[in-house]
């Protein structure tokens, strides 16, 4: 019986890719281990290997096709003796022929896949301008219209270019490295590999090995090397492959980078950026899923930034690199591949410490940051359909926290829901709730509710992982509850 060959996932977060090239043609015999095709994502190029023997009966997705969703049938394999011409797509999917990884994660049950993605919503958009763009292949040109609060910082009429968060981060680093010879980037796989998540793509080629430094796998050591270099006035960007690994280095981040200015009576500043993906990606379990926003935000001497859009990622990273203080710059693997309009300006920066009203509303304030914004915006969209007007605030910087913007909004709405993927106890939502109780007590018409990741280590199983993360329904329910609806 014929089997479908499915588009493989090359990483836990890959949702689509480009079918770059077929190496076999219809009618070719195929043995297990043969390379069938090459697949490209923005992160990597991988070969698709055959798992079963047979004849490549039909190619369903042609060379050069972009944005092929994971698990789409791309070809049909006929069994030996079977008439290749008679086979149809829709045979038993074998889900095999993947480039790498375990098969279990390649072929999730269809309902899980669909729901899982609904729960981690593709970023919802209120207007065309802040909508993540689905097809990043050819940069669309949008012009900022000015009236959208999410675009308020960008001069009216500015041309907007569609970019992924990944590209925006890379451009931010490249621009700052061109501007200042003291800026360099170091970390694991940042140079020759072009970045584990391709954030440093092309930097080695432009700036050379002196300024784009591959380190050994030695977080504690290279974080300390970065801090020592920063004490002398260099401006290192230290990339952690994930902030989970920065736990090895947290002593240097906190005891050396954050405290030395104070302990030296103002003599020894530390102009350094620690950046990398933070929080849960997909199916990587507890040791690779921790959100450290609340942890670092507890420490005087640090600034903590966690952008959502590509535009903020770029503008804030540029500000972080210029900042004379240590900045923790928390990115998100899921957001890397998402596209947003980014202003086409020679030198676009976003101030650290300033929240943004991403969507205006009058009934309830939803405060979030980073990937939490995806739940907040989707919930706001659905709440609007239910007749509740939610104002969504993107904190963008966790420390110093712009409580003024939050308080101003709550004075208007009288209600607040916070959304984050981190744990509930001593979380960012807890901090916001405490500040509102002091600074907006007389304006609150309901208790502040927190939607957070569940108080458990992140599980691996798909269903449990979904339960552990916040979801849109919880945000909607909380918003309705504080509105007594």
């Amino acid at each position: 019986m014929a089997t479908d060959i499915l588009m493989p996932a090359l990483s836990p977060t890959m949702e689509q890719g480009k079918l770059a090239k077929w190496l076999k043609k219809e009618g070719d015999p195929v043995k297990a281990g043969d390379i069938l095709a090459e697949i490209e994502t923005d992160k990597a190029t991988m070969e698709v290997e055959a798992v079963d023997e047979g004849v490549l009966a039909k190619i369903l997705v042609a060379d050069g096709t972009d944005n092929v969703a994971v698990n789409t049938p791309i070809a049909v394999l006929a069994e030996e003796g079977e008439d290749p011409k008679g086979v149809q797509a829709g045979g038993k999917p074998n889900g095999k022929g993947e480039g790498e990884g375990e098969k279990g994660q390649k072929a999730p049950a269809p309902d899980m896949q669909a729901e899982g993605q609904a729960e981690r919503p593709a970023p919802a958009a209120k207007t065309d301008d802040d909508k993540p763009v689905e097809k990043p292949a050819s940069p669309a040109v949008i012009t900022n219209r000015g009236q959208d609060p999410a675009m308020a910082e960008i001069p009216e009429g500015t041309e907007m270019v569609t970019q992924t968060v990944r590209e925006a981060l890379r451009d931010a680093m490249a621009e700052e490295m061109r501007r200042d010879d003291n800026v360099f980037v170091m970390g694991e796989e940042v140079a020759e590999y072009q970045g584990a998540y391709k954030i440093t793509q092309g930097l080695l080629q432009e700036f050379g090995a002196k300024r784009v430094v591959d380190t050994p796998i030695t977080e504690h050591g290279f974080a300390g090397v970065g801090v020592g270099a920063a004490f002398t006035g260099l401006k290192p960007i230290v990339e952690f492959m994930t902030f989970n690994f920065a736990m090895q280095a947290i002593d240097q981040i906190i005891n050396s980078a954050a405290k030395t200015l104070y302990m030296s009576g103002g003599q020894l500043g530390c102009p350094i950026v620690f950046r990398g993906p933070n929080g849960a990606a997909a199916r990587v379990a507890a040791q690779h899923s921790h959100d450290y926003a609340a942890w670092y935000s507890n420490v005087p001497g640090l600034k903590v930034v966690m952008p959502y859009t590509a535009s903020d990622a770029k503008g804030l990273l540029k500000s972080a690199i210029r900042d004379p203080n240590p900045v923790i710059f928390l990115e998100n693997e899921i957001l890397y591949g998402q596209s947003f309009p980014v202003p086409k300006l020679d030198d676009f920066t976003v101030p650290i410490g300033k929240a943004k009203v991403h969507r205006e509303g009058k009934d309830v304030t939803i405060v979030s940051f980073g990937i939490g914004m995806t739940y907040a915006l989707k919930a706001a969209h659905e709440l609007a359909e239910a007749g509740i007007s939610a104002e969504v605030i993107d904190l963008r910087t966790i420390r110093p926290m712009d409580s003024e913007t939050v308080v101003e909004s709550v004075k208007k709405t009288g209600r607040c829901v916070t959304v984050e993927e981190g744990f509930p106890q001593s979380g960012v939502g807890a901090e916001i709730a405490a500040r509102l109780m002091v600074d907006a007590f007389d304006y609150l018409d309901a208790p502040v509710l927190r939607i957070t990741g569940k108080d458990v280590p992140m599980p691996y199983a798909a269903n449990l992982e979904k339960l552990a993360l916040p979801n849109v329904a919880e945000v909607i329910e909380a918003a309705k509850a504080v509105c007594y609806r």
Binding site: P216, T218, G224, A230, D251, L261, S264, P324
Partner: protein, 347 residues
């Protein structure tokens, strides 16, 4: 076996195992001026530390206070081999390093007493003082952290191609921290200009080297990375300068890092509240009598260099005066203004 006996046993083992100091016979002699310089510098540290101990006893210095008495030849010998522009970074037994770098005794002592005129305006204390002007990068309270930081200073020197060498000190205790080896690896991989000075004073707090270290020859700690190292008689300032000259030249010439194990001894406790149960009084007394770094120089001054006793007494008096002035300043200077609580958190 009770803890005290255990500790003594460890201490005995150390004594048995401790390598005899390398022979001084082939150490180049110091000129009269060099010996006079070394004498004055080491004596300043000695008297300063004695005064700090006294002020601590009077309750004028708080918290932790780690004295450098006995180890003076190490930092003075290395400084005599270094050039302007070379940086120094160390752990928490740091008063001697600061004085050797030319920092003002008044400012150091006032930091110990937590006063406004201290190098960190009273916000750092004994273990956390810095002077960008004098290229002194601290003063770090986390054991071993300064080793990665000092490696980063070496990285910056190479990045700027400015010819400076990072002189990165640690104790025998810090030498067992993991990040030390992460740093050794990177320093050799990238040929960074760093000299790692391991001050082996035989005890990490109260744990003797032999009870904590599988490899007690610290000069070999870089072997797996191909970093050259040597053991040095850290009580003889001439031997220290000689070895440091070699090590610094190696680093400055782009050959990468170098490890110097300075075999030294601290006379006082680890900090001020040290029960000293881990070693015998005899052991301490014998080191003071036979190997004191200052006394060695003094004998040469009075003997071969034929310096008049009066001249030495004048140096002693001058040093005492400086130290007394620093103590006077540190006890009369006001505490920091309450507004200082909120400054220097961010730039």
């Amino acid at each position: 076996m009770d803890a005290a006996k255990e500790a003594r046993r460890g201490s005995d083992k150390t004594r048995e195992k401790a390598a005899p100091p390398p022979s001084a016979s082939n150490v180049p002699a110091f000129s009269r001026d060099e010996d006079l310089h070394a004498y004055r510098e080491m004596l300043l540290i000695r008297r300063f530390e004695e005064k700090a101990g006294q002020l601590y006893g009077m309750g004028l210095i708080g918290g932790f206070c780690h004295l450098y008495i006995g180890q003076e030849a190490v930092v003075i010998g290395v400084q005599m081999a270094s050039k302007d522009g070379d940086q120094v970074i160390t752990g928490y037994r740091d008063h001697g390093h600061m004085l050797a770098c030319g920092m003002e005794p008044k400012g150091v002592m006032a930091e110990l007493t937590g006063r406004k005129g201290g190098y960190s305006r009273g916000k750092g204390g004994s273990m956390h003082m810095f002077s960008r002007e004098k290229n002194f990068y601290g003063g770090h309270g986390i054991v071993g952290a300064q080793v990665s930081l000092g490696t980063g200073i070496g990285f910056a020197n190479k990045y700027r191609d400015d010819g400076a060498v990072s002189l990165t000190y640690m104790g025998d205790g810090a030498a067992n921290q993991g990040q030390v080896y992460e740093s050794f690896n990177m320093a050799q991989l990238w040929k960074l200009p760093v000299v790692y000075v391991i001050e082996n004073n035989r005890y990490a707090m109260g744990t003797s080297v032999s009870r904590a270290s599988a490899q007690t020859d610290f000069s070999k700690r870089g072997v797996s990375f191909g970093i050259p190292g040597e053991q040095v008689d850290g009580m003889d300032v001439r031997a220290v300068r000689e070895a440091a000259t070699r090590a610094i030249a190696h680093a400055r010439d782009g050959e990468g890092p170098y490890i110097l194990e300075m075999q030294t001894y601290r006379y006082r406790g680890h900090s001020m509240s040290d029960p000293a149960k881990y070693r015998t009084k005899d052991e301490v007394a014998r080191m003071r009598e036979e190997s004191d770094p200052i006394e060695q120089v003094r004998k040469r001054l009075l003997g071969p260099h034929k310096v008049a006793e009066d001249e030495i007494k004048a140096v002693d008096a001058k040093v005492r005066e400086i130290v007394n002035e620093s103590a006077e300043f540190a006890t009369s200077d006001p505490e920091p203004d309450p507004s200082e609580l909120w400054t220097d958190i961010l730039l």
